[in-house]
Symmetry: none
Subunit: 249 residues, 2 copies
């Protein structure tokens, strides 16, 4: 096998699988590891692949996972926020949890919207406060420094006193079988209370979190009215969710 041929094969494999192992290449092509290493070296110098210890990665792999993009998935979150805003109308009482998607929602609220937002999330509250026409109700209690949200029985009791028109939950993991799950016990208690206190429950989740599971259960899918992601509602990934009776937007 010619050198050029070999390198073409390697390149092909890298682009196909986003990664190659030197060890598997040298058994596939039946050459020594040194040869493979030299090939990878050259391809790397030409910028065709990214050489790493044990093999090589495609350039796209690096772009996807190590993007210097400041805020992760911000564009997706903006899309989600826009869809969510369509559900809010003047005069509504809106309960929200915390999380970066909720922050994006808070930032994207149209200035002329007049509504009342209720939350215990400090970052979310900060955004709501900047809005000219929104009334902000803060849920008080002990602050969890991790999640930057008020947690505890007082907070839950306060939430239970409310009857909100709609509740937006930033979602950490959603799965057909396990429903909504999360990783912070206290935050889960809050979310449960929020769900109980709202006429309509909307989950905001970037598509990547779909079909993932976290240790603590928030609620089953049956308690969710609407799931919002950045994908179009007819994406095949939603089929099992639609069958479970959940609406998708």
């Amino acid at each position: 096998m010619l050198k050029k041929e070999r390198q073409a094969y390697i390149l092909h494999q890298v682009n196909l699988h986003n990664k190659v192992l030197s060890s598997s290449l040298c058994t596939e092509i039946n050459v020594s590891e040194d040869t493979i290493r030299r090939d990878l070296q050259e391809l790397s110098e030409e910028g065709k692949v990214i050489k790493v210890h044990g093999g090589a990665l495609s350039h796209s792999f690096n772009q996807v996972y190590f993007s210097t993009n400041g805020v992760y998935s911000q564009n997706q979150k903006k899309t989600i926020a826009q869809k969510a805003i369509g559900l809010i109308s003047n005069g509504m009482f809106v309960l929200t949890s915390g999380g970066t998607t909720i922050i994006e929602l808070a930032r994207s609220l149209p200035p002329q919207l007049k509504a009342t937002f209720i939350s215990g999330s400090i970052p979310a509250i900060l955004e709501y406060m900047h809005h000219p026409n929104i009334e902000v109700i803060l849920i008080g209690d002990k602050i969890s420094k991790n999640s930057k949200i008020t947690v505890g029985s007082e907070a839950i009791a306060k939430i239970k006193q409310v009857k909100a028109d709609i509740c937006f939950l930033g979602t950490n993991a959603i799965d057909v079988e396990h429903g909504i799950t999360d990783n912070d016990w206290e935050v889960v208690q809050l979310k449960k209370a929020m769900i109980e206190s709202s006429k309509k429950v909307v989950c905001l989740s970037i598509a990547e979190k779909i079909n993932s599971v976290q240790p603590i259960k928030v609620c089953g899918l049956d308690e969710i009215d609407l799931l919002i992601t950045e994908l179009p509602a007819d994406d095949p990934v939603f089929k099992p969710y639609l069958e479970a009776g959940i609406k998708v937007a």
Copy 2:
């Protein structure tokens, strides 16, 4: 699994869920905890994640909102804050109002201090949250956008449930004859409640505000235990206050 691959997975998880536990990662990827720790170490050195005890946090989520606004008369307020800090000891329950002097106090708290701070002021809460050892209790209710503090009957009711060791009031105006006065009716109600709920009441005020009057009365001098300004305690301006039975520091 290649090292880069592993790190990409970790980064992905962190950005997705805002936090990861070393323990869960090492079972997911099936490597030792040391390896995970080393990966987190590297990613943290590259600024991709924030390493914490037991795992890592996403950088975007941990972003702190710094109110870098140039504080008026900052040096005087720093002096006041230092004097005030001397009154706080470990284990205390501390009630604070809002205002820039209080913010300065919050920023100057020594890191090893362990105490519980209770407030409805959003800027103050932000500062308390940055402190490693302080428990923060947030007073909830409607937020007044003007004063960035929660106001209303719920907030007052919550304050009345507390019995704090000490209460720090940012003071807008103090006068021998009229006592403490302010210009926001709702904030005044809060301060009154705070005074009632505290064993000891301390007024923080820059000297400029001494002998000035505002429209709404908070309380008379007799309800104040201590007045702190940036001036030395024996400054002649305090003479009438000392005669009125108030202590000055």
